[in-house]
């Protein structure tokens, strides 16, 4: 990194500050290398523990069991962080949806029209698959978000046509659903996010579906880069 960036003033002068940064980074690398070397090798970690309680989690995939059940609190916070990101972007800027000077090619438009429904289907499949194989809310939501981005790039203006209230409800669907389940669990005499035994399966699927919709809309809204103009708050 230090030797690149040619041509600022011919030859680069010796900079003590850069040397300090280099030494600090070197120190950090050494510390990290030492930490990696002293890690217990071949240990199973918590895999055995997860496998033991797999039956209770309501899903067959250990990853989904950890994400949505055993460590559901972390995932709840992650979903909230995504929501906060959209709120931040929306309060800073409005998306203009201006037409580009050059027209979108008709080939691109028809391909995207074919692809977008297919991607929604793949997203739903990924969420459904998350209960027993690789997949889940984040992967499904990302595919959904990618479909939204494709539509935006092709200038099919779905984000500005969808009623703003509906969009906001969609963005809130996942976090609110997750939070409602968490609080309802508390009200029925259990811990936060401790699902009733035997019913965890459909609860996890419900949370995952709602979160996938919200994550997809969140990512597409982030790409649009601001609050759609003519929003409810503009009335």
């Amino acid at each position: 990194m230090m030797m690149s960036k040619p041509g600022i003033s011919g030859r680069r002068r010796f900079d003590p500050f850069l040397l300090l940064i280099f030494l600090l980074v070197l120190l950090l690398t050494l510390i990290l290398a030492r930490a990696v070397c002293t890690l217990p090798m071949g240990g199973e970690g918590l895999a055995g523990e997860v496998a033991r309680f797999q039956q209770q989690s309501g899903v067959e995939s250990p990853v989904t069991a950890v994400l949505l059940n055993f460590r559901g609190y972390d995932t709840l916070l992650e979903v909230m962080v995504l929501l906060l990101a959209v709120i931040g972007v929306w309060s800073l800027a409005t998306a203009s949806f201006v037409k580009n000077s050059f027209a979108t090619s008709p080939v691109q438009i028809s391909v995207v029209r074919l692809l977008a429904p297919l991607m929604c289907l793949v997203a739903a499949y990924l969420v459904r698959q998350g209960t027993h194989l690789a997949g889940g809310a984040f992967q499904g939501g990302a595919v959904l978000g990618a479909a939204g981005v494709l539509l935006l790039v092709t200038e099919l203006p779905w984000l500005s046509v969808v009623p703003s209230l509906l969009l906001r409800i969609g963005l809130l669907l996942g976090p609110l659903c997750f939070l409602a389940v968490a609080i309802l669990c508390m009200f029925s005499g259990r811990q936060l996010l401790q699902y009733p035994s035997g019913e965890a399966g459909w609860i996890v699927l419900l949370i995952e579906s709602a979160c996938a919709v919200s994550i997809g809309l969140t990512l597409a809204s982030l790409f649009a880069g601001g609050r759609p103009g003519g929003d409810v708050s503009d009335d």
Binding site: G136, A142, V149, L222, F223
Partner: protein, 107 residues
Amino acid sequence: MTLIMLFDILLVATLLWLAWRLLATEDIFKAVVLFISFGLLMALAWVRMRAPDVALAEAALGAGLTGPLFLSALRRMERIRKEERRVDTDEDRDDDVKAGNKRKETI
């Protein structure tokens, strides 16, 4: 077995080289393109580490969405730079200021 090991070594070497290139390049657009390819190869690496969940997330989020986000940010930066060059035609920014004032009033 050795063939797979060769593939792994090649993958790691390519990842390191891509990371170096994308950090060292002057051209931001080039860096973004390198970042996208880095994400795709990283997804492959996650598959090799038998973590298909992370691989899916990396391919969809790391390569598929972060790349376009960077590209759109880049386009926006270029547009802002152009607007700054032409000082007399910044109606867009005036609109933004008005919207900001309106928001303050509603608060």
